[in-house]
């Protein structure tokens, strides 16, 4: 119980130190900021080690899956960039990552991000007795086409093409506005979470 109280004090002091930046930059904020960067960087390493490297080494040692030595060695080649004479070997790591990434882009991404999106856009522009649904479908179809036309640079955008691309830009502005609104709301919910922690767990004025 006593230990948990200490933990809450640490969390509360770090939270307040972070919030102090709203007044102006100060030493408390900078301490919290640097602790955050250090712990977050360390956490990234630990997650990678626990999720991938430890199980890989385990499968090599215990299950005789020697084939996983190859990706480990390829991965470690990236650190040759610190030795000038063999620095070019680090490109082999990048080559594998980019090669597999290109393979994924050319195969797995096509269906969910391209074909399925086109299929979902092919909707009836007239649904009998449902004017609202028809109008929504028209806005959706024209919006997708106009957005794509905005990025069509093969010919200069004049006349109908210019009007359509302007409509596409407006549709994108609405999408960016929605994304912005959602981002602000998610940040506000985080802020409320921290305020609730301070009021409830730390100060005990909320029950």
């Amino acid at each position: 119980m006593q230990m948990q109280r200490v933990d809450i004090w640490i969390a509360a002091l770090l939270t307040l130190a972070m919030f102090s930046f709203l007044y102006k930059e100060n030493p408390f904020y900078r301490v919290a900021e640097h602790v955050f960067v250090g712990v977050a960087a360390g956490h990234g390493v630990i997650v990678a080690v626990d999720s991938y490297l430890r199980p890989t080494v385990k499968s090599v040692v215990k299950d005789d899956q020697y084939i996983y030595i190859i990706p480990l060695v390829i991965g470690l080649l990236i650190y040759t960039r610190y030795v000038k004479s063999v620095a070019w070997l680090s490109r082999i790591t990048i080559a594998f990552l980019v090669g597999i990434g290109a393979g994924i882009a050319l195969t797995r991404q096509i269906k969910p991000f391209f074909l399925d999106q086109i299929a979902a856009t092919i909707k009836p522009v007239w649904v009998a007795g449902k004017l609202g649904v028809s109008l929504n479908n028209i806005v959706l179809i024209t919006g997708v086409v106009a957005t794509l036309i905005y990025f069509f640079f093969t010919t200069s955008q004049k006349g109908v093409l210019k009007v359509t691309s302007t409509y596409g830009r407006w549709i994108m502005m609405i999408a960016f506005g929605a994304a912005f609104g959602n981002t602000v709301m998610s940040r506000i919910s985080l802020f409320l979470g921290r305020a609730q922690f301070l009021m409830k767990d730390f100060l005990g004025v909320l029950h």
Binding site: D7, A11, L14, M18, F19, F21, V31, E33, H34, V35, F36, G38, V39, A40, A41, G42, H43, G44, V45, I46, Y52, L53, Y68, G75, W88, R91, I92, T93, A95, L97, V98, I100, A102, G103, A105, Q109, F114, I118, N136, V139, G143, V144, V145, T147, L148, M172, M173, I174, A175, F176, G177, A178, A179, F180, V184, M185, I188, F191, G193, R194
Partner: protein, 206 residues
């Protein structure tokens, strides 16, 4: 050799992955499954690169007694503490879980929470209604924000419905168009990499 070998490896790996995806042959299926796992293992193996760079920058600041070097000491101490604790008892350990719950989680939540004030003030300066585009962006953002809080329903009962319509119809249309365009770009880049035409990721020639 130093430049050509990585280009050849990239093309061969990309080609093998694509061919394996189109052939339902056991040997190719096994190879594709291995490549998927290799991608994760190789990515994980490179994670220390960022930490090494962080160490180099801050160790140099400490050595040279640059202004604010005390903060570099704090950063490296926090990094070392997290690494030692995590390697000793894994991320599932009791003490590590406490470090996550009472240090990392509050700090990251608060860091993102204070950003809401800055993006709001930046938005005020950037999106003042000087054009139709800015008005649409600002108007949508305000309606979406008001629509998801109880206040919106109190002000006008149509706000939640309007907010949902904006998210479901024009927002979907815009995001879908961008997604299709971005995927076309990714496919084009993938083909360029496969053919060995795209080499910018290897950096400058020596």
């Amino acid at each position: 050799m130093k430049r050509e070998l990585p280009v050849v490896i990239t093309s061969v790996v990309a080609a093998l992955y694509v061919v394996a995806s189109f052939l339902d042959i056991k040997a190719f299926n096994v190879m594709k499954s291995h490549l998927d796992k290799w991608f994760l293992i190789i990515s994980a193996s490179t994670i220390l690169l960022g930490v090494i760079n962080l160490y180099v920058v801050h160790a140099s600041a400490i050595r040279r007694r640059k202004p604010g070097f005390v903060y570099s000491i704090i950063l490296l101490a926090a990094l070392a503490f997290t690494l030692i604790l995590g390697l000793q008892e894994t991320s599932q350990g009791r003490n590590y879980a406490q470090l996550y719950q009472y240090v990392l989680n509050p700090l990251s939540s608060t860091m993102y929470a204070i950003l809401c004030f800055y993006i709001a003030s930046a938005a005020y300066r950037a999106f003042r209604m000087r054009s139709v585009d800015a008005a649409l962006l600002l108007g949508t953002a305000v309606i979406v924000m008001i629509g998801v809080v109880p206040l919106g329903d109190v002000l006008w009962q149509g706000f939640p419905k309007l907010s949902q319509w904006l998210l479901d119809v024009p927002n979907t249309a815009g995001m879908r168009g961008i997604m299709i365009g971005a995927t076309l770009g990714a496919i084009a880049t993938g083909i360029r990499i496969l053919l060995g035409l795209e080499r910018s990721h290897f950096g400058r020639a020596e």
